[in-house]
Amino acid sequence: MNFAHLHLMLNHFPIIGTIVGLGLFLVSLAGGRAEDLRRASLIVFVAMALIALPTFFSGTGAQGAIKKLPGVSESLIERHQGAAMLALLFMEITGAFSLIELWKSQGAVRSRGWILSFVLLFSLVTVGLMARVGTTGGDIRHPEIGAAQDAGTEDSAIGKIVSRFEPSPDKFAELMTASKWWWAFMMDLHFVGLVLVIGTIGILDLRILGFAKQIPIAPLHKLLPWAIAGFGLNLVTGVLAFTGMGAYYTYDWAFWFKILAILLLGLNVAAFYLTGAFSSVVGLGPGEDAPPFAKFVAASSLFLWFAVITLGRYIQSFSDTIVVHK
């Protein structure tokens, strides 16, 4: 297993998964058991948004694995990378709106149509951009489909339009690392996001575990948008940091375990809401104890968030720990 293998494995999820999510979403608009289908489609979008992250990150390692092979064009790789950056942006926005809509639908809040229409709009664009990423990726090393050797001449009409919006990976990386003040600012925002997440989710988890039992749980759940905002902030600053210094993070065990911890947190959130743990605690009033399974989910949530902080902190000390043998 090398980075190229990992990248080729993972890419199926954001490219095909988003089509599945969009399909479910469109069917849900047609009627019938609309609520369940719509919720399922939103969950798919959030899951794909999460998996898109290690997919994107593994691209740098994949590039490292193949760039010296005969017939591999650097410019085709860059075109693919630029397409991936644009697609990732729309993927994460789709995931964010989906998550917000899922949060709203847990309470008695009537979901406002505008969030759902944004989900529809952004998911449509995402599916299109993911097709572009897949195509440009295939062009790199699928000689059997008769791909272009030079990115400049062979772009389709649509491709030429889209490519205007695709950033140049090299220029973007330079931009991110040009000023140490910008880097410091991004890292500062990363800590602000951390604080928002730990504060709000931490309090909810601690209450479920039995601390400060005088507080009813439903109001604590209302703090979650701040956690989503904090996580969003960290996702943005994190991806920007990676685009600035891809190789530094790619060959670092702490970075990959951190991403794994974040994916596990995605599973944890899914477990909390889909297994009924949430409904078993949301009505708890002052003094009332949460059931054991809910406590387990809360404890693992706290553990995983502190694991994310730990692994993030150790990125610096674990640099160059993944050694690729040529």
Binding site: G199, T200, I203, Q214, P219
Partner: protein, 168 residues
């Protein structure tokens, strides 16, 4: 005239050298990690109390939030201890950096606001929530502002130092 000689004296001690140069995962990065944990506890808990005082999630009863001050003090203690260890590891880097003194000042102010919140707002059990909010809203705003300032100043330390170790 260079930095004061006592900084070099601290740096040359066995403990300081071990903290700085040891490959053990329990050296510098471990201490830095617990500094981050302390920050997460201290500012995390503070932010929730501040947000509530400013009207976010009004259904959360104010009085029980008093218990979170214990978490804040645990976080502060963690950071005071790890902070001292970090200064011992890199005395020249920290003590010749103007930004470091700015950070300590902001923290002192933030802690005094925290203390005021605890005594004036949460200290009197007979106060109604409306009274607590009236007393606490302005303090909450300052608290948020000061803690985020402390985080920013702390983060900038890695980018604003003049000497990493005592110049030879």
């Amino acid at each position: 005239m260079g930095p004061p000689a006592f900084l070099q004296a601290i740096e040359n001690t066995g403990f300081s050298t071990w903290l700085r140069e040891s490959e053990s995962p329990f050296a510098f990065y471990f201490i830095l990690l617990f500094h981050t944990f302390g920050l997460a506890l201290l500012v995390g808990a503070n932010v929730v109390v501040d947000l509530r005082l400013l009207g976010v999630a009004r259904a959360i009863p104010l009085a029980p939030l008093k218990q979170f001050f214990r978490i804040m003090w645990i976080g502060f203690a963690m950071n005071a201890i790890t902070g001292v260890l970090l200064v011992i590891a890199y005395p020249t880097k920290s003590l010749t950096n103007r930004n470091f003194y700015f950070k300590l000042t902001v923290i002192a102010l933030a802690v005094s606001v925290m203390h005021k919140l605890k005594t004036r707002v949460f200290g009197d059990a007979s106060l109604s929530e409306a009274e607590m909010t009236a007393r606490g809203a302005a303090l909450a705003k300052w608290s948020l502002f000061l803690w985020f300032g402390a985080i920013a100043a702390g983060r900038l330390l890695a980018y604003t130092y003049k000497y990493l170790t005592y110049p030879s």
